[in-house]
Amino acid sequence: MKSNSLSPARYLPFGDTALVVEFGNVISLEINAKVIALSEAVQKAEIEGVEEFVPTYRSLLVRYNPLKTSYEQLVFCIKDIEKVLKEPSAQVKGRRITIPVVYGNRYGPDLAYVAQFHRLSEEQVIKLHSDREYRVYMIGFVAGFPYLGKVPDEIATPRLETPRLRVPAGSVGIAEKQTGIYPCEAPGGWQIIGRTPINLFNLLQQPPALLKSGDIVKFKPIPEKDSKQQKNHAR
């Protein structure tokens, strides 16, 4: 794992309108921190022809206007920026956001399974899930869906064998060492352990997604009766 995170970035073409700067092929804080640091630095540099960035677990996609710049030109520019990039500290900085969650019962239909799978009580699963801070590694899958990591080994659980056709909006799930929140109703195979009343994606806000890569999220267990008052009260 360590050696992987130290290997130099790879520059790869992504069709005729984008390129990818790849830092590794594992889920690690160091790699993700580099991706986000480069994303911010390249954005600041305001390179002609660059249109948007997609930071992910392990790589940065840069979409450009091929009429204004080229793959070769951009690789040259971004390498320059990467060279002087400070080694991002592994200690997480970023906006801290608390997400209230009603765990279990009809809001978290898989909480009992996750507990049973690990021979824990439901309360222990809730405590383990809500005790630590998670990093938003990336947003993907559906609009506003944050991929958060990593959950403690004690509650890391494989996906459902048969995905659900409908997972309700706000559902909080676990898939292996990742945890995530469904911003809208969608099909999905994550183990659903709770639900948040917080709206993660709002078209009327700019930006529309509550979370972005690099943010720090902490879950806070709340009783069901509080969930209605908490609506739209994140941060």
Partner: protein
């Protein structure tokens, strides 16, 4: 301004423009017309901007009653368009009077057609675009496909004096066979040499699992090296993913923005537009090109889109 009432919605008809850019990092796909060329042509035939919103019709067209006099154009796959039951041509400006009924048959070739309205379709701008993203439930008419009874609103614009048509040599052919130019990477190195040659030397058939999100293809399985998974990273339309079973999936405009299958290659922009015409059972062959060749083709493609308005033929009135 209300232009049409939907009498029948067709199989899957949505409002689309050139797409929604700048929100990939929030998980919002680009969406927009699957067949960009046909959308631009439909717009230019009624002197709209290339970026105006049209109806994207899939396989079976809608039936629309005109509430106002207007001008329209229908491009894309051949769908036997009719006004008041009379056959009318595609790829040219059509006059529509108040009370007229615009209808069509089943698409005989291709998969998608575009219906433009003079002035452009007026739906709220959502994150910089009018394109419908059905899975997210936003854009277009209430974030969904057309339904019976919907009203289609258009911007107010003076009618144009002359009709136009697209010169025959520019009308795309729909042969059910596609040669798709691809640039290798970003994960081409995860495939064996044999896997790469399999990919380039065999035809792949579009399966029934083909929609605005992507097309699953079927053919000679493409072999990975030691691993068939990656830690998820970004996707764009045109990405050719190869999951464990070796059968390619081409990512299209409404696909999720990240994915965990290795991408052997990415189809070029002009080819993604022509793939918008592909339907189940059509055959795709992949052809590898360099970034330099792709760049030249892209320049030609943009030149064509930009000059299309000037290349149209004026119809006699």
């Amino acid at each position: 301004m209300k232009i049409f009432r939907v009498l029948k919605p067709g199989l899957f008809t949505t409002v689309q423009d050139l797409g929604r850019y700048g929100y990939l990092k929030y998980g919002v796909p680009i969406s927009g017309a699957m067949d960009t060329f046909s959308l631009v042509a439909a717009n230019r035939l009624v002197a709209n901007n290339s970026s105006d919103a049209c109806l994207e019709v899939t396989l079976i067209g809608p039936e629309l009653k005109a509430l106002k006099q207007t001008q329209i154009a229908i491009t894309g796959g051949f769908i036997s368009p009719k006004i008041n039951g009379q056959d009318v041509p595609m790829w040219q400006t059509l006059e529509v009077q108040e009370g007229d009924v615009v209808s069509s048959g089943i698409m005989e070739n291709g998969c998608r057609a575009y219906l433009s309205i003079r002035g452009g379709i007026d739906t709220p701008m959502v994150l910089g675009s009018r394109s419908t993203y059905v899975r997210g439930g936003f854009g277009g008419i209430n974030g969904r496909q057309l339904r019976t009874g919907d009203l289609i609103e258009g911007f107010c614009a003076p009618l144009i004096k002359f009709g136009y048509s697209v010169p025959r040599e520019l009308v795309p052919q729909f042969a059910g066979k596609f040669t798709v130019n691809v640039i290798f990477g970003p994960q081409a190195d995860m495939f064996t040499e044999k896997g790469v040659s399999t990919f380039l030397s065999n035809p792949y058939r579009v399966t029934l699992e083909a929609d605005r999100m992507g097309y699953r293809l079927e053919g000679e399985p493409i072999k990975h090296g030691d691993k068939a998974d990656i830690v998820s990273d970004a996707l764009l339309p045109g990405a050719v993913q190869i999951p464990k079973n070796g059968q390619p999936i081409i990512i299209m405009r409404d696909a999720q923005t990240t994915g965990g299958y290795p991408k052997i290659a990415i189809a070029t922009t002009p080819d993604v537009s022509s793939l918008g015409k592909a339907k189940p059972n059509d055959v795709i062959e992949f052809s590898k090109i360099t970034t330099g060749q792709a760049r030249n083709k892209l320049f030609e493609y943009h030149k064509l889109l930009n000059s299309l308005g000037k290349m149209l033929l004026k119809n006699q009135s």
